[in-house]
Amino acid sequence: MQAVEISDVTKSFGALTAVDDLSLAVPEGSVYGFIGPNGSGKTTTMRMITGIFYPDRGAIHVFGKQISRARSQWIGYLPEERGLYRRMAVRPLLEFYGELRGGRKVTAEVNGWLERLNLSQWASQKVQTLSKGMSQKVQFIAAVVPEPRLLILDEPFSGLDPVSADFIRSAVLDLRRRGVTVILSTHDMGVAESMCDYIFMIFRGKKVLDGTLASIQDRYGTDTIQVAAEGGLESLEGLPGVDRIRDLGQTQELRMAPGCDPQQVLRTLISRTRVTSFSVTKPSLHDIFVRIAGPEAGETKVA
């Protein structure tokens, strides 16, 4: 069964079409990554799945049921804009949210999660005394207590230090192992590549990518060279058969023009400078993102 099925959904705000004729199927038990530039429609799509917004056209089904006006107790939601009652203590706040969704006392689960995320000693503190990272973890707990069937996380890792991010990442993967379907949006392509079974990219309200990472990369073929060479970016300029160069600092990513032979590129390069590493790969998700959503800093168009 599909956990979420979005069929021909359109949502507009005044003259702006935030989501345009979108169809998407999220298989149960998968981790689905939503990517796309800011303002492209990720949050609006997520808000429609949670039932905060209603689509103007089209239908959304969650576990086979039309998303109704009553919020589903199956869905745990972590909004992008974090918001907690600042003057409430952590544990009562989490119990309030949990009971609101689950309809029952959730004290034991709250305690379990507080312990797991190293927050037990903060349980009686007011939210306003917590650091940003800690309140983000508290908000994550609010989304997963009681355990949902579908977990929607809007930018779950933004602003987290690596340790906290690891805690959340392992918690999400754990939930997924227990059968929870996860939808998460991220600007970190590394997260999308490493965590997600499926990736969906939305751009200007329209779906532009949808599938597994491998199937998406296959569409672009093996047209990318990752190279490290003495002289860096300067030594690579003007290479024949290279369309674009993305400067990553220590290494550079080259995109080959159609029909270009990587062996020829390597030969030319060796004749110019000392090459320390050279590999021919499929384009990274980052590269694909940039190809779709336009030029970014650090990229040089080869004339």
Binding site: R47, I52, F53, Y77, L84, L100
Partner: protein, 437 residues
């Protein structure tokens, strides 16, 4: 419903646990009843400095009689009978011989008043001795620069008339020993109506009416209602704006519908107003009981008081929630707060008019307007004579309909407004959200 109750419970506890709530419980009655408290304080600590009044007597015969009457009044009113404490200023008189140039003399005396040597001066013209219909110029002039609260005119009216009447009686040859008999004042006592006791069949004597009670009870009841409504609905506006600014609402809207969220908040406000009212009603009853004035508590009106209170709080809180949902900052909210105050402030401004003519067309009309019904109908019901039986019920129907309408419209505005950020609302926009949903 369970979710509404959960939200209501959280908001209720979050509010009543704050210091601001407890402080408000004490401060609100002082703010609302402040003016009246001030008057009461002034009455209990009157100015008892002597007041010197000059009399320019152009009749040649009135001054001494007026002064004599005034001194009798001084003797009667100066001290409290039980404690013998002076409770009123003593009026002292100074006879001033009339001069030919009236205006010049008035100016001289006026200057003395300005310098504080005199409190006022009177000028008694001969026309006042026999003020028949055909005599022009009757009327004693009292010149003073004291404010309205000095009530010098009211105080002097008695002795002046008394004095002049004594002169007239003397002219008619009535002996001084008959003056009291002729001029003695008889009080008129105000009583309620005689009724028959339904249980025993006996005729019940009429109650003595205290004018203070007749004023204070209806006014106090109306004031209490207005105050409770305002203190429980005014924080709603900023609370919703704050929740919105702190981004709490999106989290909540993932869990409950906007209607559930709004009604939870409204219900919390109803709970807060009921808790505060319990403090005031029970406290007021205990105090009046202790003062031996328990009879003043209008127990029969308490059910209406509570019906109107709950309806009014729901109506205004839903309105406040909708306005709050449209706002993005406390500044926005403040600008709209005046809309919220109107249903409470308008009755507050017109209460005097309603008290004078409780069953006049304007009073009836205003009290049937649902926004003003709770305060004004309650006021009219508490006044002696009450209102026609149909009016509370008809107005209640209006209030209930208006409350439902308000909640419906507010929920629609709330749903649209609550997630819109960074845009200040225009009133027309709020109306459009209500209509289109």
């Amino acid at each position: 419903m369970r979710r509404i109750l959960l939200i209501a419970q959280r908001d209720y506890l979050a509010t009543i646990r704050t210091k601001a709530f407890l402080v408000g419980l004490v401060v609100a009655p002082i703010l609302f009843g402040g003016g009246f408290l001030g008057i009461a304080l002034l009455r209990s600590h009157p100015d008892i400095k002597d007041r010197t009044v000059a009399i320019v007597d152009r009749t040649g015969v009135a001054a001494s009689a007026v002064i004599e009457a005034a001194q009798e009044k001084n003797a009667k009113e100066l001290f409290k009978k039980t404690t013998h404490r002076q409770i009123a200023p003593r009026y002292v008189f100074e006879s001033v011989a009339p001069e030919g140039d009236r205006m010049a003399q008035r100016l001289t005396l006026s200057d003395r008043v300005r310098r504080g040597q005199l409190f006022a001066f009177l000028e008694i013209d001969p026309a006042n001795l026999h003020p028949g219909k055909d005599v022009p110029g009757a009327g004693v002039a009292c010149y003073s620069n004291s404010g309205a609260f000095g009530n010098i005119r009211e105080w002097l009216e008695g002795p002046v008339n008394d004095g002049l009447r004594r002169v007239r009686l003397a002219e008619l040859g009535v002996g001084e020993n008959h003056f009291d008999d002729v001029l003695g004042e008889i009080p008129v006592e105000k009583l309620g109506l005689v009724s028959r006791d339904e249980a025993t069949g006996q005729i019940r004597a009429a109650d003595k009416k205290s004018e203070i009670a007749e004023f204070a009870v209806p006014f106090g009841l109306m004031l209490l209602l207005g105050m409770l409504v305002l203190v429980s609905s005014a924080p709603m506006l900023s609370a919703v704006t704050e929740d919105k600014a702190q981004r709490v609402v999106e989290m909540l809207l993932g869990l409950v519908t906007p209607f559930e969220l709004m009604m939870g908040k409204v219900l919390a406000a109803v709970g807060i107003s009921l808790s505060s009212s319990a403090v005031y009603v029970i406290g007021g009853t205990v105090v009046l009981e202790a003062l031996g004035m328990a009879g003043l508590v209008p127990f029969a009106l308490l059910p209406w008081f509570y019906i109107y209170l709950i309806a009014d709080v729901i109506m205004l809180c839903a309105f406040a929630a909708a306005l709050g949902a449209g706002c993005n900052s406390p500044q926005d909210a403040q600008q709209l707060a005046v809309l919220l105050m109107a249903p409470v402030m308008v009755p507050y401004f017109v209460f005097a008019l309603v008290m004078q003519q409780p069953n006049g067309a304007i009073s009836t009309g205003l009290s049937l307007f649902p926004m003003f019904t709770p305060m004004l109908m309650l006021l009219r019901m508490a006044l002696p004579g009450g209102v026609p039986l149909w009016q509370p019920w008809v107005s209640l129907a209006g209030v209930v309909a208006c409350t439902f309408g308000m909640v419906w419209a507010a929920a629609r505005i709330f749903r649209v407004g609550i997630l819109i950020q960074g845009k200040s609302p225009k009133l027309a926009e709020l109306v459009r959200w209500a209509v289109r949903g």
